[in-house]
């Protein structure tokens, strides 16, 4: 499909399916806005937060962590060999945040009041910090993206203004997500005595921001491979491989701090008490932290595409698993009752993630996001490192 000379969007059967999911979700969302949360969700006084907050918001934001870790590596440390992935990471992150905002909007009961926290400051609330940082950061990302947008839609003066703003935007674009990735963890500090002690800790903000950060490279690897496959390009294997060094070191630190924290709080033995929580915790730590650490540190695995990819998928799944454990497993005992999302909650979630895929495809097909491929760049003399010639 083409609209105008400059815009295109290819329609495939898979994309039609995704569009159908989005439409169903939109209808369900409309119904929810008119008839309230009780009508479409299984949420209850025991389980005030469910799939939309636990998965779409917490995981959506965590998965978007690729944006700020890549920004730090590329734009602050100027490791230029990673430039080819910078824009793709920014894009995924931006879409992830939009999903998070949409799910938050769906989830709040009095949605017409969503603007209140901008004017009425409950600054003693962690949620206040989360709300402000996420809103500001989404704005920052839109502006950063504007820089790319105006490469295509020519508008010199605007591009110039944005260009001048770029440095403060980039810095804000790292500081804000660092703050709220950690605050998403701090949200659960209030659950002292209720969140299972294997997860509750005063260090939970550190664990959240740290894991969001090391998740970044893994997410870039997974999504880079997916994009490469979808568009029949060469995966940027060199980049993936050297990114593992970042992930590896950070995960080892994560593991050590985790153990020290458990020992310090005297709950280390709880990990082995055989309860449901302890088993989930062990799975989280062994399958999703220790195994990827081992895979990343073995040369013959790390240098193969399947190896990096498997390890990275484990890391991504592991962070999701961790967030789910905090929101659901760790709270289940204290909250009582039970919760399983309704079909509508699932459909809306599926619709949102389908929208993410569609948006990603549309943007990379119309904007300069992915690096030019060798065969297209007829000696345009671009000066970036060897990394790209993968």
């Amino acid at each position: 499909m083409r609209f105008g000379k400059n815009w295109k969007f290819k329609i495939t059967p898979f994309r039609i399916l995704l569009i159908i999911f989005v439409l169903i979700a939109a209808a369900a969302a409309l119904y929810r806005f008119v008839y309230g949360l009780g009508a479409v969700t299984n949420l209850s006084d025991e389980w005030p937060w469910g799939l939309w907050i636990g998965f779409d918001l917490l995981c959506g934001i965590a998965l978007a962590g690729g944006g700020f870790s890549t920004a730090l590596i590329v734009h602050v440390l100027h490791k230029d060999k990673y430039l080819p992935i910078a824009r793709a990471a920014l894009l995924t992150s931006l879409i992830g945040y939009i999903i998070a905002m949409v799910s938050l909007f769906l989830d709040i009961g009095r949605w017409f009041n969503f603007w209140r926290p901008f004017f009425y400051w409950g600054y003693h609330s962690v949620l206040f910090e989360v709300f402000w940082c996420i809103s500001l950061y989404t704005t920052v990302q839109v502006l950063e993206f504007g820089d790319i947008f105006f490469e295509k839609v020519k508008c010199a003066p605007l591009k110039k203004i944005l260009g001048a703003l770029m440095t403060p935007l980039l810095i804000l674009g790292i500081v804000l997500p660092s703050l709220h990735q950690s605050s998403l963890g701090s949200l659960y500090i209030v659950a002292v005595d209720r969140l299972y002690p294997l997860w509750w800790s005063m260090l939970i903000p550190f664990f959240f921001v740290w894991s969001a950060f090391f998740l970044g490279p893994a997410m870039v690897t997974v999504e880079g491979t997916l994009a490469a496959r979808a568009y029949k390009r060469e995966p940027e294997m060199h980049i993936f491989e050297s990114l593992t060094k970042v992930t590896l070191v950070m995960m080892i630190i994560y593991l050590i701090v985790k153990i020290v924290d458990l020992v310090y709080r005297g709950v280390f033995s709880m990990a082995f008490n055989g309860s449901f929580e302890s088993n989930m915790f062990l799975i989280e730590m062994i399958v999703f932290v220790i195994v990827p650490i081992i895979m990343y540190s073995i040369n013959s695995i790390r240098t193969k595409l399947w190896g990096v990819l498997t390890a990275s998928i484990l890391v991504v799944a592991g962070v999701i698993f961790n967030r789910m454990n905090v929101v659901f497993t760790g709270m289940a005992d204290a909250m009582g009752g039970h919760y399983f999302p309704t079909i509508w909650e699932w459909l809306i979630t599926i619709g949102m993630w389908s929208a993410l895929v569609l948006l990603y495809c549309f943007v990379v097909e119309n904007f300069p996001i992915l690096p030019k491929e060798e065969k297209h760049t007829h000696g345009s003399g671009v000066a970036y490192g060897k990394g790209i010639h993968a």
Binding site: D45, H75, L83, G122, L187, M202, Y231
Partner: protein
Amino acid sequence: MSKGVLVDITRCIACRSCMVSCKSWNDLPSNPSTFSNNWDSPGKIDSTNWTVVTNHIIEEGDQLKWRFVKRQCMHCLEPACESACFTHAFVKTKEGAVIYKPTEVDQDYCVGCRYCMIACPFGVPSFEWDKTFPFVQKCRFCYDRMKEEGMEPACVTSCPTQALKYGEREELLAEARARIDQNPSYVKHIYGEKEYGGTSWIYISDVPFDKLGFRTNVSEKSIPAYTWDVLKWTPLIFFGWGAILTAMRAYTKRRAEVHNEEDMYAPVDDE
């Protein structure tokens, strides 16, 4: 001068007068009851039952004790619900009630995010799930009675056994201590004196509190104090981390080559 209520569990007979008077004073709808094994249906607080009496059967040796506990918002001295609310919709009034901001203009602060429900350590705030634009509902300590007419809460008035006593929290604490000291059958603990920084409603009992569905051995530090321990670092991290990043960016930039990013990327051509 902060008010409180002393609940003496040994005196409660589960007549549920408090539940009835709470409903009638606050115009709450009645709900059809269902059967529950220990006869305490509905058995938990919700948006139209701001107070409930729960029943507990306790075996002590060959003795069987049946105890009844009136539950409602504890009106914490440093309420977690207030600190968790990002629009500051809940406040602790100087009289001691924890309520939505009482003035007419300020009433509609709530966004319905339900973080207060996650934050409350007693599982009190309840949501009007079936409404399109739900509010969070809970016991208001009959703030309207307390404030305008100097009356005690509706539930306290209707209690026929004086299991509930309304007054200054300090005086009630002294009285609770006196009752515990005079009668050895009481457990030597006043629930709510220190729990989570203390609550306006306090309980004394002759069976251990953990057998009555109270969460015991909990933190004596208030939940807002925990959060503040973390939140207070925010400005420092914001400026400190920002400064470090700016410095690093400036430092590494000098060494980096300059790229023309426009030449580097291109839309995917998939046709």
